[in-house]
Amino acid sequence: MENNKIIQIEGLCKSFGDVRAVRDLSFSVGEGEFFAFLGENGAGKSTTIHILCGQLPKDCGRVVIDGVDLDKDPFAIKEKLGVVFQSSVLDAPLSVYDNLASRAALYGICGEEFRKRLSELSAMLDLGDLLKRRVGKLSGGQRRRIDIARALLHRPKILILDEPTTGLDPKTRKLLWGVIDGLRKTEKTTVFLTTHYMEEAAEADHVVILDNGSLIAEGSPLELKNAYTGDFITLYGVDEEGVRSLGIPYEPTSGGYRLAVENTAAATELIVANPEIFRDYEIIKGKMDDVFLSATGKTLKGDDA
């Protein structure tokens, strides 16, 4: 176990009958890191998370979290994890306060200790007016804030977010990411994210892409972009004849043309060689969508089961 690795997974396997959901999966997550776990539906993300959380037995492999082997002390690991599920799993007929009180008691937090933590979370997530309301009567965004409060009740070292922003409006999404960024800065919480929003994954420190239960790509977003996509130059104020004369693939965009080049160096070379054409332009890296498409041959959309 490396000192700065808070999650280490080695040779993880899990099958359901003939279906091999996770195949010899190995990766690690650094302490305090923002980690994104990507894959299309059925790629094995949820299965891996269920194994990490001790909700599903693995067939083989080793999982070590914060120095604790999952096989040796699963209860100690549960103390270190906070999970925000894809959909809210709190008790709809009960008030927010009752929900949080009953969940805090699962970690032995009650009385004054609970009230103090609730006050901290209320300030962090702006829960003040919601505490007396029934969870079933809250909007999707309000419910998501309660889900995050529930996950943070016991100050976990690792926060697992399983598609946390799916279906949320931009304002609530921004609020949630503000809270999560704050947590990373103030409490050094490690964030383990699965998402279908590639712009969220682009903010990660480290990304792992799964396909059919196997790891097919990993690295920082920049490394992945460099490895799996080229750069794009958007060229303005020229006619199509001039663009065609460059002899490289292009497509029309709003007000100009988008050229695909291998990398930034190739872009620079092309611009220097054709100054009469490149008078108004911008160079951008490929997006995480392009990385995902290039690595898996599939686009990422829909909800994971």
């Binding site: 001790g54 909700q55 549960k78 103390e79 994890l81 799993v89 007929p93 009953s102 969940r103």
Partner: protein, 299 residues
């Protein structure tokens, strides 16, 4: 302990806040009340008078007999159907994902199981003891012949039957995991248990083969215990008013105060022992099922 108490509080609150579960639990007792109010009460009264061979008894004493029959039936089914409905929370938690949220914490599966059992028992007892109080109030109005001992026995019967209903529902619900299964089991229990335990209709009126089959079902003895304790005072009063003991004994047979296991009359103490042993046996099965599951998932 903090965790167990918190989970019990959560489960009890959820039962009483979830109007669907709460009112479903009261359907069977409500059906019984409607049946008695519309025709069963009159049927029993006519049948009792016929059985007494024209002997004159007061309306109050007749009311105590018919009322005793009614309240014992209501309490017999309530203890089991309320327990089943309350314990549906165990299945609902699996169906709506709450169970995953609970299991993500360092709580033991055994703690969850204990909390479900205890919360179900508390909900069932709360409702059934309130129902018992209302039933006794009803008897006080139409004809009271119970002693303090009878009332205490009735309360013990309710306690035992509630424990039986809770243990039985815990074992059955253990295997359920979807809303469809909840609805199916809820419907079968609500509609079927009243017949099987002799609440809607005395077992003595069933065919001989069916009577023998039903004599193997422990819930039947719970109904009979309630009948005996709810009607003891009224039937004794009949004897003291000169009604022949043979006629009263026939009445006991007709309304299931006397139960027969292959023609052998079952003593009240044996009925108690059967019910208590069944509770212990079901609890052992519930514990075994939980231990097996915990071993399987390594918790």
């Amino acid at each position: 302990m903090i965790t167990t108490v918190a989970l019990i509080k959560r489960n009890v609150k959820l039962f009483f806040r979830d109007k669907g579960m709460f009112f479903t639990a009261l359907i069977t007792p409500a059906i019984l009340l409607v049946l008695y109010a519309t025709f069963l009460g009159n049927v029993y009264e006519d049948s009792f008078r016929l059985g007494l061979g024209g002997a004159e008894i007061s309306d109050e004493l007749m009311g105590a007999c018919v009322g005793g029959q009614l309240i014992s039936s209501i309490l017999a089914v309530s203890c089991v159907t309320v327990a089943f409905c309350s314990n549906m929370l165990m299945v609902q938690d699996k169906a709506n994902g709450s169970r995953r949220d609970l299991m993500i914490s360092p709580v033991k599966a055994s703690t969850l199981s204990i909390a479900y059992y205890a919360a179900t028992l508390i909900c069932t007892l709360l409702i059934c003891f309130v129902a018992t109080a209302i039933c006794l109030g009803y008897l006080a109005v139409i004809g009271w012949y119970l002693s303090v001992g009878d009332v205490l026995w009735l309360l013990l019967d309710v306690l035992l039957l509630a424990m039986f209903g809770t243990a039985l529902s815990s074992v059955i619900n253990f295997f359920l995991s979807t809303q469809g299964q909840i609805a199916a089991v809820g419907s079968v229990v609500s509609s079927g248990y009243g017949f099987l335990c002799g609440a809607y209709m005395p077992i003595s009126q069933f065919g001989e083969g069916l009577q023998r089959v039903i004599s193997f079902l422990p819930g039947t003895y719970g109904t009979s215990l309630l009948r005996n304790h709810a009607l003891r005072g009224a039937l004794s009063e009949m004897e003291s008013q000169g009604i022949p003991s043979e006629a009263v004994e026939e009445m006991r047979d007709a309304i299931d105060c006397n139960l027969y296991f292959f023609d052998i009359k079952v003593d009240l103490r044996v009925m108690l022992a059967v019910l208590a042993s069944t509770v212990v046996l079901l609890l052992c099965v519930y514990i075994f099922l939980n231990l097996r599951k915990m071993k399987k998932i390594g918790r």
